[in-house]
Subunit: 360 residues, 2 copies
Amino acid sequence: MKTLLVALGKRSYPIYIGSGLLSRPELFKKHIKSRQVIVITNTTIAPIYLDTVLKNLDDYVIEYLVLPDGEQYKTLDSVTQIFDKLLACKFSRNATLIALGGGVIGDMGGFAAACYQRGIAFLQIPTTLLAQVDSSVGGKTGVNHPLGKNMIGAFYQPQCVIADADVLDTLDERQLSAGLAEVIKYGLIRDAGFFNWLEQNIDLLLARDKSALAYAIEHSCKNKAEIVAEDETETGVRATLNLGHTFGHAIETGVGYGEYLHGEAVAIGTCLAADLSRRHAWLTDVDVERIIALFKHSRLPVVPPAQLDAGRFLELMAVDKKNIDGKIRLILLKKIGLATLPVDVDRERLELTLKTYGRK
Amino acid sequence: MKTLLVALGKRSYPIYIGSGLLSRPELFKKHIKSRQVIVITNTTIAPIYLDTVLKNLDDYVIEYLVLPDGEQYKTLDSVTQIFDKLLACKFSRNATLIALGGGVIGDMGGFAAACYQRGIAFLQIPTTLLAQVDSSVGGKTGVNHPLGKNMIGAFYQPQCVIADADVLDTLDERQLSAGLAEVIKYGLIRDAGFFNWLEQNIDLLLARDKSALAYAIEHSCKNKAEIVAEDETETGVRATLNLGHTFGHAIETGVGYGEYLHGEAVAIGTCLAADLSRRHAWLTDVDVERIIALFKHSRLPVVPPAQLDAGRFLELMAVDKKNIDGKIRLILLKKIGLATLPVDVDRERLELTLKTYGRK
């Protein structure tokens, strides 16, 4: 087992990465300070891993809640179900919530923990590659709104993250690829060497080679932990983690939550961001081709849905947390391995990208 | 104008107390860092003060939302209306929210500000005595749940509090008295001298004597600011501000939100807490009589509703943020001017109080 630290002063916490971690009660118990524990999970994960987790905690007052699976359920209504359950059980402010699932469960569980009685402790047990390398680390929690992704939420850090690589064995192919989109992101924004490594090892990752996956997870979490430690609430460098996300969120919101996996939308969004970076003469044609090729090789979509034309994209992108006073701001790439901070985009270039990239 | 500081490091902010403050644009503008401003208010306050506030900000992109008035509307649904409005207006993370109203508007506006895009700036403009002396100061935000008061929320500090004493001219009598309940609380928990002053000056306060009210507001805010500076997230002394509140919340939830004003329920709850403190031989009979007399004199109820019997009280009190692992914990009084920290209550004594105090 490897342990990485997210260094946030009093709110610091460990990320445990390794095999068989779901069956190690001491890892859980170390971070649970109370008798009352609730596990939040979904209909996909519950039949596979819920019992294993519950078994670790049979000497606690333990409850669980199984929510439907999918981005379309990442809503205030689902979070309300968590509140209802906590209150029906009369759980106190010293209770602990365990989020056992992918990014949707982690984001909602974390947000429920942030708000229940103004904050209870929570543990992240990510069960998808995407959640292990990205969404479970760093304390961004929240839900979607019909008008925008992740528009309601809180910065709220967990007590620990337990990333058990074994759970990836049961992950379907589409989810594995979606996770790779965020892995590739770290290479693009700050780690050219990692990007090169990914180009050489992508087949091993797709074949779920344990040691390649472990390397990718650890390397991704290390990048994420460093960024979050530097800028917890996204006043600066943390925004670079949003490469491709403004386009991606527009796709998810525009097409309907759940249609694309988050990682799939991010892959397309990153290709759009790369195309726009090329129009700024920051990336070369060859750079953009390499980026698109790596996403394609990872079995990810690289072309935006035909139903979203440039006008609709712009409308959807007007709602984004990086925008200031309504102006669209994006993360772009100066080169492979170096992202910009949010830049006010040149409207003409943005429209060119939206009208031409991937369009017939 | 007096200025008090709530000293919370980077999150420090001023409380402005005085006359005519609603018409001083510079007070507002000093704390608004962006172009986009939304005012959240209610149907009682909007016709009286909304225009005055909007006039201060006519050079901003300004929107407003008028919510129904009353504790029964302090819900996630109302907060969702605020999110809908903010998103419909495409407001950014650098927008500012102004909460113009009593405790309900302040708590919901603050919570919406805490969660919208994971946190936007907000200003508190309390328009009731209760909000001026208590709920607008200290960053407790949130909403009620059918099973418990203030069960969903966040600690989230405003940029400033603007307490304009003139708004109390339009406050109805019942609301004025409700505010006095929280004023009296400060005397009881940490300021015996202030309690004595209140006993002598209660008639002036009820007659809305400007200088008596100003003294009471300033003194209350000073007490609150000191406590919050010492313990922002209620791990210790801040809990003393909850004197009478566990009983009070049980009344509000049990009878139905909006039936009692919060201050009215707190008055009854504080009398119950005083009775229980007497059973611990901390307060004397004379102390308890003085406390009840001051609430009565303030035109506040001092007897719990007949419909809530001891059993129902205990059930409702089982959901409280001070409880640990389901055990009821209360703030009691060691003497007038000195509160305990949360104590595990002796069940027998608690039942005696619930069965006998104020019962025929």
